[in-house]
């Protein structure tokens, strides 16, 4: 019997912090400026310049660490990581090595399995540390073999989040990354855009026979630029490793690059030489010295995080699936929470939001937090309440929402202007019922002969006669009474 292999994955994630200025100087961090226009002596590494830590970047990093339930080192230190590269201006990167800001955290998330069940997972965070970003090398638009260097990104604050090797499938790796992204979006410390490089992911992958305790030979995968490519690259790599072992081969410890176009990983030889980064304490900077009060204040400033949010939604009566869909999408969750604050009933509001409003917005390609979305949370909550208190019925509500999406009018305005208020006047309904019964003698006779399905047809006729506005419950009751009364 062939050996069954288990996959072991750990992720190293770099996140750019959304500060106005860089980690160690006052240069702006905005993305996409012309090359080398957001630089100064410090981030250019000019002789004599010195780094000064950005207090907001440290506060943001702390916030992320607390959101990941990490232990904080209030006296965390800076180190230098020495290596030579054209886009590394000082010839070293200021980072944290021996004393990172945070250790021993957790990220909790749930995975939806193929049978639709959701499974809760927890991946341990080994460490979270702060560092400065490098510049970028480019060959675009340059003659021959020459290389251009853009140092706008040099010195942008980063955090690196290293997981323990707790991830067991490529899909789980993707979901972990998405959950991490959501968590960071909630904290507001980064815009976490993979396409702009503010979220970057490297993976360490190995396989081992099931039941084996020691890890297999580790391969590092780089250059995965989307959530999809993380999963695809890892799937490819796991298959490659298993195939290699099954055919009697050996895994080599190496760094491989993912080629998104060819959908393969390939060995990047330039990185094969073992690096000796000669880490040592950064003499230009003292310890961070985070006071307990500051740590506590930052902890208090954290918003409600996805796991807690999801639990709260479930306790309000939402299904696990709906709760998770809402909680994992910060703008959606914030819309939903605003509906709740406006008095919307939880389950009905969730349905109205995720099915009706999102369905309409998706059809037009508008996002919920877009200004083009003309429906406000309180307006949608009002719509839900109009249904709940019987002012309109569910069918009319959809018509009302159509108009709200188009015009931005409130539910009540639409209802009043178009006279869509539900008819609950028993006299009016009785009149409609009687005229329907009179107009459909054949169906009435068949119904009395036992064709009970025709009751629905008759209800439909009454609704049609009232242009959908009649209170369906009342229609049912009056119709049944009238049919019975006439047979007697």
């Amino acid at each position: 019997m062939a050996t069954v292999y288990e996959t072991v994955i750990g992720l190293e994630v770099h996140v750019e912090l959304a500060t106005e200025t860089k980690m160690f100087c006052g240069c702006p961090t905005a993305f996409g400026a012309p090359p080398n226009t957001q630089v100064c002596p410090v981030c250019l590494g000019l002789p004599g310049s010195l780094p000064v830590p950005n207090a907001r970047a440290i506060a943001y990093a702390l916030k992320a660490a607390l959101a990941l339930e990490c232990e904080i080192d209030p006296e965390c230190r800076w180190d230098r990581k020495n290596y030579h590269y054209p886009d590394l201006p000082k010839g070293y990167q200021i980072t944290q090595y021996a004393r990172p800001l945070a250790r021993s955290g957790h990220l909790r998330f749930s995975i939806t399995e193929t049978n639709g069940d959701t499974v809760d997972r927890e991946v341990r965070i080994r460490r979270l540390h702060m560092e400065e970003d490098t510049g970028k090398s480019t060959h675009e638009g340059l003659p021959g073999t020459s290389t251009g260097v853009d140092l706008n990104r040099a010195g942008v604050p980063l955090i690196e989040i290293v997981s323990e090797p707790d991830i067991r499938t490529p899909e789980e790796a993707r979901v972990y990354l998405q959950a991490l992204r959501t968590l960071l979006l909630y904290t507001g410390v980064s815009d976490v855009k993979m396409e702009e490089g503010s979220l970057r992911c490297d993976a360490n992958v190995s396989v081992r026979p099931v039941g084996e305790d020691t890890l297999g030979v580790l391969v590092e995968i780089k250059n995965m630029n989307s959530f999809r490519s993380v999963q695809r690259a890892l799937e490819f790599e796991v298959n490659r490793q298993v195939d290699l072992l099954q055919s009697g081969g050996r895994i080599v410890r190496e760094t491989r690059h993912w080629d998104d176009r060819r959908e393969i990983t390939f060995s990047s030889r330039s990185k094969e030489e073992a690096h000796d980064y000669r880490y040592f304490p950064e003499p230009d900077l003292g310890p961070c010295d985070l006071t307990p009060a500051f740590v506590e204040q930052t902890r208090q400033s954290l918003p409600e995080l996805p796991t807690a949010k999801c639990q709260r939604y479930i306790s309000l009566g939402l299904s696990g699936y709906d709760a998770s869909v809402l909680a994992m999408d910060p703008p959606l969750a914030s819309f939903f929470d605003a509906m709740l604050r406006a008095g919307g009933a939880p389950r009905e509001s969730a349905a109205l939001l995720t099915v009706e409003l999102l369905g309409r917005l998706n059809a037009t390609g508008i996002a919920i937090h877009d200004p083009a979305c003309r429906v406000t949370p309180s307006a949608l909550a009002e719509l839900q309440k109009l249904v709940a208190d019987g002012t309109i019925n569910g069918k009319i509500a959809k018509e009302v929402l159509d108009e709200m999406v188009q015009t931005g009018a409130t539910a009540r305005t639409v209802v009043e202007n178009r006279g869509l208020r539900q008819v609950s006047d028993e006299g009016a309904i009785l009149e409609a019922v009687r005229s329907v019964l009179t107009a459909n003698p054949v169906e009435v006779a068949d119904y009395r002969d036992g064709k009970e399905k025709l009751f629905g047809f008759l209800v439909g006729q009454v609704m049609k006669a009232t242009r959908g506005k009649a209170n369906p419950a009342l229609v049912n009751a009056v119709l049944r009474r009238e049919l019975q009364g006439r047979s007697e």
Partner: protein
């Protein structure tokens, strides 16, 4: 006394009284430079005469308008060439920075400009401040004004020689392991290394960041106090700068040393200290005793290991600090390379001199995987222990006294063949940098016409006390009137060789 031989405070009195204009003073110093510079070679860059005179005239105009002027207004000052100056070359006496013009001023340069001091040029040094003789300059050696066959010390040799030779009234240098104090000692002037963090390092080209400190080189102690007062203070651009208030260093400078208890670490006055230096220092201690100080021998047992620790830590930091000279963004770049790596290697091989290359290799090795604990880690332990021993000593003593250097100025080439011989010269000064303490060197005698320096080490942030002690000794010893023989060379003397 010639104008160019005067002190900052002496000149300031005359400037303030209107007996002298800044322009006349600048003229006198420029003329002096014209006469002696070809013998001394203090400078690697001299500002244009007209620029200097224009600045001096601006100070005079300012004075005429009745502006409140500081004690350095109109005083010609020289800057070590590792201090960034906007618009002037800053080369660190290295070929790799030949022609490099910094786009910004060091904080100390800004401070001097605010005080309306007149910068006259950039002084020679050992390349990147690595050396004790200024022989490691990529451009030319600087000669000692007391004997042009001898070195001025280093690495701030150009600054020390300029002040001693009358080419500047005062100068700034930097001190990583003695680079202000040792050349001050060799050139018979006063040199002060402030407490680590007292003066901003922003704009000082880094050699070893945890040890570097900028300080004054002056003709007397009072001038050192004045210049320190002008450059000290907190700077938000240097995260290691001390936020403490800057005291008035002149306020208590006359208060004498009566009753102060001074320690003399026996490890700094033992083997390796030349007999003439030893006897001059002992004589100085006698004089201090006469002045009322209470002097005892003391012991700091780890001091003999300071040099070993220093020559691991300083090169380790230097190997990292000097990684940025890669030819990519500024400075020298070797052309015609086929790859980044080749360009990088050739640029550095051509741009750095042998001593800098040696220290980069030493430091790289000391930080390498597998050697870190053995070298860098161990050196840090020694450093910690030395700091502790100084702390203990300062529980008992107000200040510590020692020679500044174990010898007087040596001859050119004498120590170039054996780097260890050169390094040993720093034995009395490096412990002070390792512990981040303030220390001053001032003349305490002569041997064969060469000056000998006395070092006074103070408690952290207590520059005021060592200035007071040094001032008391200086007044009593009265060596100040002695000038280098160079000053007796008649003006206009032709120097064809």
């Amino acid at each position: 006394m010639e104008l160019y031989e005067s002190t900052v405070h002496g000149l300031q009195t005359r400037l303030a009284a209107g007996e002298l204009s800044a322009e006349e003073l600048a003229e006198a110093v420029l003329e002096r430079i014209d006469h002696v510079e070809e013998d001394i070679h203090s400078f690697v860059y001299r500002r244009l005469r007209e620029e200097v005179l224009a600045e001096a005239r601006a100070v005079d105009a300012s004075r005429m308008r009745g502006d409140a002027l500081g004690p350095l207004a109109g005083i010609p000052i020289a800057l070590k060439d590792n201090l960034n100056t906007r618009g002037l070359p800053t080369t660190c006496a290295s070929a790799i920075l030949e022609g490099y013009i910094a786009p910004y001023d060091a904080t100390v340069v800004e401070s001097l400009a605010q005080q309306q001091a007149v910068v006259i040029g950039k002084t020679n040094m050992d390349e990147f401040a690595m050396g004790s003789s200024t022989e490691h300059s990529a451009y030319h050696p600087t000669r000692n004004p007391w004997d042009v066959g001898r070195v001025p010390g280093g690495s701030s040799g150009g600054s020390a020689a300029a002040v001693a030779a009358g080419e500047a009234i005062a100068a700034l240098g930097s001190d990583t392991g003695g680079s202000i104090r040792q050349p001050a000692s060799f050139c018979g002037i006063v040199g002060l290394k402030p407490t680590y963090g007292r003066v901003s390092r922003y704009g000082l080209v880094a050699f070893a960041s945890s040890l570097d400190q900028i300080g004054p080189l002056t003709r007397d102690v009072r001038d050192a106090a004045i210049v320190l007062g002008a450059i000290a203070g907190h700077d938000r651009r240097d995260a290691t700068s001390n936020p403490g208030e800057v005291p008035d260093y002149l306020a208590g400078i006359e208060s004498g040393c009566r009753g102060l208890r001074l320690g003399v670490p026996r490890q700094l006055l033992g083997e390796g200290v030349a007999a003439e230096v030893r006897s001059a220092v002992l004589a100085a201690l006698d004089l201090l005793t006469e002045l009322g100080a209470d002097i005892e021998e003391c012991s700091l047992p780890t001091l003999p290991h300071a040099l070993d620790a220093y020559y691991v830590i300083a090169p380790a930091e230097a190997s990292s600090n000097l990684a940025r000279y890669d030819g990519v963004r500024f400075g020298h770049r070797t052309r015609g390379s086929q790859s980044y790596r080749e360009m990088f290697e050739r640029t550095r091989a051509e741009g750095f001199g042998p001593e800098v290359r040696r220290r980069i290799m030493l430091g790289t090795y000391a930080l390498s995987a597998g050697y870190y604990d053995q070298y860098y880690g161990k050196a840090q332990q020694v450093r910690t222990r030395i700091c502790r021993e100084f702390e203990l000593a300062f529980e008992r003593y107000t200040a510590l006294v020692s020679p500044t250097a174990p010898t007087t100025a040596f001859r050119f080439g004498e120590r170039m063949a054996d780097p260890l011989q050169m390094y040993v010269n720093d034995i009395c000064t490096v412990p002070v940098n390792l512990a981040g303490l303030p220390a001053i060197s001032l003349p305490c005698g002569f041997h064969d016409g060469l000056p000998i320096g006395l070092q006074i080490i103070g408690r952290p942030m207590d520059e005021a006390t060592i200035l007071t002690l040094a001032h008391a000794y200086e007044q009593a010893a009265d060596l100040g009137r002695r000038r280098p023989p160079l000053s007796r060379v008649p003006m206009g003397n032709d120097r064809e060789e």
